[in-house]
């Protein structure tokens, strides 16, 4: 048993921090919350790609470094800590590249991975539909075979990638007669194809990073099929373990945490800084405690992945825990901000650059996306604890 990181890993963390510090010094971007999903900055993604930091865990023969998931966790932890605008490449790096490495043909790997590695693929996930959220297997979007093509008709919703999305990784029904879990396939193709209409959804914060995507007779080459036809549901479950596994479920609002501590130190309401008030001290310490417990969960998930196992229940646990923490962080920040918490980011007098306001609203979605906390707890109960079904 060893809770220490290696010297190389410490050095790598420092290398990432130095890079991000330099970026800030150059005034290239401002730290922000949810930057991993809303911070679109193609130039930043390019700079990250140039350092070889996309595809860190992919095998070397696929263009990656063959590094560990702990190494990737260190990289992403620092990106989140600094609130760096990594949204353009996050999804491709986190799971799509891995899906292609795992399920793709050699030809697909040669054709698709390089653009991800170069930071040129801004991928959105086409999973949910208006009538298919937690019950993903009930999806209706069709992919009908037509010679060397599939024709896609239907609609996806909550597709990330904002207005930058240029590739979509989606699941569609290829066999309507099979039981619903066994008639679904995965596809990966460009959103510039005729018949695709990307319509932004404005979220509760006023931000735009999710889309509806309409498919009207979209013809895609059969080469766009990833993995096995009709095995898409099982492939996606594997991908979901990775989607749920990351530090972004815990530290997406870390800039707020730091801003909150600073705010408490600088703000006086009754003669002394809030940070010297017992209640505030206790609240901030409790957040720190919950954050550190969360980091242990996250590192454990990475250890499981490095052991070659799918972190099925472990990432369900870490995501449900992490998103609850983020909601707690946001509500505590609003509590400490008091009356000021209701000021929106553009308002005069707004504290903490409006991050408490933003996170309070944004965090309502965390326990829903990529697996609702209810679904995740079902997984813990049924798969890990083996409790019976009804």
């Amino acid at each position: 048993m060893d809770f220490e990181l290696s010297e190389e890993q410490h050095k790598f963390r420092q290398e990432v921090r130095d890079f991000l510090e330099e970026e800030l010094k150059q005034g290239r971007w401002q730290p922000s919350c949810d930057a991993w999903i809303m911070g679109f900055d193609p130039a930043f993604t390019k700079r990250v790609a140039q350092r070889g930091w996309i595809g860190l865990t992919w095998p070397k023969e696929c263009g990656g470094r063959g590094w560990s998931f702990i190494d990737r966790l260190i990289l992403t932890e620092e990106m989140l800590r600094y609130g760096a605008p990594a949204a353009c490449h996050w999804f491709a790096d986190r799971q799509i590249g891995g899906a292609i490495v795992h399920y793709g043909t050699e030809e697909q790997k040669k054709e698709l991975l390089p653009m991800i590695l170069k930071g040129e693929a801004y991928v959105g996930l086409g999973m949910s539909e208006p009538d298919a959220g937690s019950d993903l297997a009930s999806l209706k979007t069709r992919a009908v075979e037509d010679g060397d093509y599939y024709v896609i008709d239907g609609q996806k919703t909550w597709t990330s990638g904002g207005s930058y999305i240029n590739w979509i990784y989606m699941v569609a029904r290829t066999d309507p007669d099979a039981p619903k879990h066994r008639g679904i396939s995965e596809f990966f193709f460009e959103t510039s194809l005729p018949g695709i209409n990307v319509v932004p959804i404005v979220d509760i914060t006023g931000g735009v990073h999710f889309n509806e995507v309409f498919f009207d007779g979209v013809r895609i080459s059969k080469k766009c099929l990833i993995g096995e036809k009709n095995r898409g549901f099982y492939q996606i479950l594997h991908q979901l373990d990775y989607e749920r596994s990351g530090m972004e479920r815990l530290m997406a609002n870390y800039p707020l945490f730091e801003a909150l501590i600073q705010y408490a130190k600088e703000t006086k309401r009754s003669g002394k800084p809030l940070s010297e008030e017992p209640v505030t001290r206790s609240q901030l310490a409790q957040l720190k405690i919950e954050l550190e417990i969360g980091r242990l969960h996250m590192y454990r998930v990475a250890v499981v992945m490095d052991e070659g196992r799918a972190p099925n229940w472990e990432s369900s646990m870490s995501k449900a825990y992490g998103t609850a923490f983020e909601q707690h962080l946001a509500s505590t920040a609003m509590e400490i901000a008091g009356l000021y918490g209701q000021l929106s980011p553009e308002s005069k007098w707004v504290p903490m650059l409006g991050m408490a306001y933003h996170s309070y609203l944004s965090s309502k979605g965390y326990s829903l996306q990529a697996g609702t906390s209810e679904i995740l707890k079902n997984i813990l109960a049924l798969r890990k604890l083996e409790l019976p079904t009804g």
């Binding site: 454990r300 995740l376 049924l382 409790l387």
Partner: protein, 377 residues
């Protein structure tokens, strides 16, 4: 980073579990709890023969030279089986403190006695003011030629009723109020002037009031340096807090296992209650709390094993563990229904111990303040 135990550790764990499960069925735990001694001298001897008392002592003192991490695993198993008795007091509170702060003569005098099971130790630290900071030490130790005279009251002293020796924390410099001027004394429990009353507690764990009335302690029985004892006391509080966290892991893991088993078996409305989603989600919440406690307890145990600073990590682990235990036990009771609220059901052993562990060696409020200071607030 590697979270697996070694093969030897797995063997120690299994052996400990088998031994403790065999020796301490709940009928035995109940009997011992209700006895005056609060432990089984026969099993105590067997534990010594297994090398458990001297587990982390160097070989020259009769020890097995294992690590604090190994001890942590043992403590988890003890928490799981509700081991009654002065193991924690003797080994963690007594043994580790002598190992750290003792002179060579003192180590040679006392450590082999602990390792052989011959001597039971405890730490007399807390006073009626009931706090774990230095200013809470008010008991006086006044110099008198080649000795010190101790006067005062210690409360919540574990196993003082059976201890052969007590490590007593007292204030030797009456002008000081803070961390300076505190000294640790090795006191023979049978010294004239020492009187011990066992308190009735929720965990039936023989916490005692110990009154010191003109108790004479030779100067050579000072453990560590005169007036410099607090830094050692602080370290032992940290170690004890980690040890308690490990016991708590065993406690709530067992509570979880019992609860899941019960949910699978108990039927209402013609189906196991574990098939209802609310019960499933309660169990999911429980295992999340258990895992967080487990990860943080073992991280801190590893830090202690490696001799690395861990004040913040200990504070985080103990604050977390105490509150996690309460959540787990609350849900365990809710799922067990009425049967779990009887004295005949085993669940209550864990409920009572979890509450005691929560407040011992610092509760969540205490450690939140430590974390706040570590954060620079």
């Amino acid at each position: 980073m590697d979270l697996a135990f070694s093969e030897e550790q797995e063997m120690l764990k299994k052996m400990a579990r088998d031994f403790l499960t065999d020796k301490f069925p709940k009928t035995a735990v109940k009997e011992i709890e209700e006895s005056d001694l609060g432990y089984s001298p026969e099993v105590w001897k067997e534990m010594a023969e297994l090398g458990w008392m001297g587990l982390v002592f160097p070989e020259e003192y009769g020890g097995a030279e294992m690590t604090f991490l190994d001890l942590a695993m043992l403590l988890e198993e003890m928490g799981r089986t509700c081991l009654p008795g002065p193991y924690f007091s003797t080994v963690v509170l007594g043994g580790l403190l002598i190992l750290d702060a003792g002179s060579e003569e003192q180590k040679q005098e006392y450590l082999p006695k602990i390792a052989s099971g011959e001597a039971i130790f405890t730490l007399a630290l807390t006073e009626p003011i009931a706090r774990y900071d230095a200013a809470a030490i008010e008991m006086k130790a006044a110099a008198d030629n080649d000795a010190y005279i101790l006067n005062g009251t210690k409360l919540f002293v574990p196993d003082a009723n059976v201890a052969d020796y007590m490590l007593v924390v007292a204030r030797t410099d009456e002008k000081s109020r803070g961390e300076d001027g505190i000294t640790i004394f090795i006191v023979d429990a049978k010294s004239p002037g020492v009187s011990c009353t066992v308190l009735k507690t929720i965990a039936n764990d023989k916490l005692c009031e110990v009154v010191f009335d003109q108790v004479r302690v030779p100067t050579e029985n000072i453990l560590g340096q005169l007036n410099q004892g607090w830094s050692e006391v602080k370290k032992i509080i940290e170690r004890a807090a980690v040890g308690k966290c490990c016991e708590m892991v065993g406690c709530i893991q067992q509570a979880l296992d019992m609860t899941v088993d019960y949910a699978k078996e108990r039927k209402q409305y013609d189906r196991p209650i574990g098939s209802f989603q609310v019960i499933q989600h309660y169990c999911a919440d429980m295992i999340t709390d258990v895992e967080g406690t487990r990860l943080s307890a073992y991280q801190t145990a590893w830090l202690v094993s490696e001799g690395l600073p861990c004040t913040q990590e200990v504070a985080i682990a103990k604050a977390w563990a105490g509150e996690a235990c309460q959540r787990v036990m609350a849900l365990a009771h809710q799922i067990h229904g009425a049967i779990g609220v009887t004295i005949d059901h085993d669940l209550q052993y864990y409920t009572r111990r979890a509450k005691a562990a929560e407040v011992t060696f610092g509760d969540a409020s205490f450690y939140r303040e430590v974390v706040a200071q570590e954060m620079g607030l």
